[in-house]
């Protein structure tokens, strides 16, 4: 893996490596049915990883939505509405409480790190406000967020879709990734930057990676040893 090592503390991720990491990540996601996909934009070399999932406000996943991972961005929402026929309406007695989360992993060329974009809305189309998003932030991160919310979650235009998304600001990604990468270099282990990074930032906004992603890394290390 090629890392830019101009200074010993800098472990930037170059774009091709980003795409490789995403490919490995998605391959594993497909194996376990975790719902991540690669989306590319017509006529652009850029692409991103995307996952949509549905969650009740109290954190549970409504059962009828578990398979809705194949449609593209704009159609997923409509498709879900069509699925709510009378027979299923009784199961969704609290549809106002179902939230659709959408997560995108993009590459930031200016920071040379991955960036997590996300948005959330209720089934009636109402997007969650920043306050409501913060309510969903895991309590162990709240102290940090309360001190400087504008440093970490901001609202920006999605660079490829042009729609408003919330973003976990990437300016400090290198800071928390560096020790992990330095450690792995010392130990001569290959790690998937995107997997490690997402395992750290994901829970902040309600995105938890199944443990098997961690096992994937160790399997790769075994093979190369």
């Amino acid at each position: 893996m090629s890392l830019n090592l101009d200074t010993e503390d800098d472990f930037y991720l170059e774009e091709n490596r980003f795409k490789q990491c995403c490919a490995e990540f998605i391959k594993h996601s497909q194996q376990i049915g975790d719902g991540w996909e690669w989306k590319s934009i017509k006529d652009f070399p850029d692409g991103y990883m995307s996952k949509t999932h549905f969650q009740m406000k109290n954190g549970n996943t409504p059962s009828i939505f578990k398979d809705s991972t194949k449609e593209n961005d704009e159609q997923t929402f409509t498709h879900v509405e069509e699925a709510l026929d009378d027979s299923q309406a009784s199961e969704i007695c609290a549809t106002s409480e179902v939230i659709r989360y959408e997560y995108h992993v993009l590459y930031s060329s200016s920071y040379q790190v991955p960036v997590l974009y996300f948005r959330a809305c209720f089934l009636d189309g109402r997007p969650l406000t920043l306050d409501e998003i913060w309510e969903g932030v895991h309590e162990c991160y709240r102290a940090r967020l309360l001190e400087g919310p504008w440093d970490t979650i901001t609202q920006q235009e999605h660079p490829l879709l042009g729609q408003p998304f919330f973003v976990l600001h990437p300016c400090r990604t290198n800071e928390f990734m560096a020790p992990v990468l330095a450690n792995s270099q010392r130990e001569n282990r290959n790690i998937n930057y995107v997997t490690s990074w997402l395992s750290i930032v994901g829970p902040v906004v309600g995105l938890n990676l199944p443990l098997s992603y961690a096992k994937l890394v160790s399997e790769q290390n075994t093979k190369t040893d």
């Binding site: 594993h28 497909q30 194996q31 376990i32 049915g33 975790d34 578990k66 398979d67 991972t69 895991h138 309590e139 162990c140 991160y141 102290a143 940090r144 001190e147 440093d151 970490t152 979650i153 976990l168 600001h169 990437p170 400090r172 990604t173 800071e175 928390f176 560096a178 020790p179 992990v180 330095a182 450690n183 792995s184 130990e187 282990r189 790690i191 998937n192 997997t195 490690s196 395992s199 750290i200 930032v201 994901g202 829970p203 902040v204 938890n208 990676l209 199944p210 443990l211 098997s212 992603y213 961690a214 096992k215 994937l216 890394v217 160790s218």
Partner: protein, 142 residues
């Protein structure tokens, strides 16, 4: 093996999902799925040897980067302790301020979610009778 084994003084928290892999959808096959450990329901802290459901596992904590090294590295932890609980404990032990983040990693590279139970991690990543966890402090995560 003259290492000191101490018990974490905090009471166990109810854990979250307790599996190595997510429930597979129709087409997928989960890697390394283990039995879910039922969380103990608000039981009081005890110094006595634990019952089966509160059996403790050995955890070895290793510092990464500039993070202070704990004097006591080996701990006996209840299976139902969550990552978040462990983070809180280590932060107190190292006297970190609330705004400093502490990350815990398995396999030196993967941060389990805060609700993940230590017992499950031990099932998936434990070896030689213990679970090795790396911890790292950071001012920033976003």
């Amino acid at each position: 093996m003259a290492e000191v084994e101490e018990q974490l003084p905090l009471s166990p928290q109810d854990g979250g999902r307790g599996e190595c892999g997510e429930e597979p959808s129709d087409g997928g096959a989960a890697v390394g799925v283990a039995e879910a450990v039922p969380p103990s329901a608000g039981s009081p802290v005890t110094e006595e040897p634990a019952e089966d459901t509160k059996k403790k596992i050995d955890v070895l904590l290793k510092a990464v980067g500039d993070t202070p090294i704990m004097k006591t590295k080996k701990w006996s932890v209840e299976r139902t302790r969550t990552i978040q609980g462990l983070v809180d404990f280590i932060k107190k032990f190292l006297k970190l301020v609330a705004s400093e983040q502490l990350f815990i990693y398995v396999n030196q590279s993967f941060a389990p979610s805060p609700d993940q139970e230590v017992g499950t991690l031990y099932e998936c990543f434990g070896s030689d009778g213990k679970l090795v966890l790396h911890y790292c402090k950071s001012q920033a995560w976003g």
